[in-house]
Symmetry: C2
Subunit: 104 residues, 2 copies
Amino acid sequence: SRLEETVKKTVDENPVVVYSKTWCSYSSDVKSLFKNLGVQPFVIELDEMGPQGPQLQKVLEELTGQSTVPNVFIGGKHIGGCTDTLKLYHKGELQPLLSDANAK
Amino acid sequence: SRLEETVKKTVDENPVVVYSKTWCSYSSDVKSLFKNLGVQPFVIELDEMGPQGPQLQKVLEELTGQSTVPNVFIGGKHIGGCTDTLKLYHKGELQPLLSDANAK
Ligand SMILES: N[C@@H](CCC(=O)N[C@@H](CS)C(=O)NCC(=O)O)C(=O)O
Ligand SMILES: N[C@@H](CCC(=O)N[C@@H](CS)C(=O)NCC(=O)O)C(=O)O
Ligand code: FES
């Protein structure tokens, strides 16, 4: 579908992509993690796109199996949510992914 | 107002009260913290009450200055949100509040 193509293009063209909701603290926590690491994620706020927001969330669920926000991609690869990203960070596995994706 | 009276009655009659949203991870995190401490909070899910949910959230904002979820009360006292409750826990100040409120 058109929306599926949009998501694939977005995650391919940007080193770090976060699908978020503006009022969600888990979304802000993952955005701040990247900022603290000196990385500028490409952020899409699903609650600021009108009816396309829920549609996009549905497409993300079909593409990644994940229906929740935040939904994080690095170097075109699906990473998961906030807890997944933090776990990688604490294991020292996030930084190599960011370098490989030329995110810094 | 009637809703204000309801909130005051709820927080006076229950040792631990959490105003929450079912799909919010910060709300579930604070609910799990209490469960892990052996405390059964009285939980009100604001997103499961129809139009009364946003009205109740507005009343909580007027009573506590806090518009966000989770909104936590212990022993009738307003504690704050998830980060506030976790901070008290890590400083060892949450358990005394719970004992004073006969929450355990
Ligand atoms: N463990 C996941 C939890 C994700 C989650 O449950 N997100 C909530 C918001 S905090 C959600 O998307 N709820 C349903 C929705 O908002 O559509 C993570 O760390 O990202
Ligand atoms: N630091 C606060 C953050 C609270 C917060 O921003 N909560 C969000 C949901 S995670 C919220 O209520 N957003 C507006 C709303 O949902 O009405 C806490 O720890 O509770
Ligand atoms: S909506 Fe509360 S943490 Fe996401």
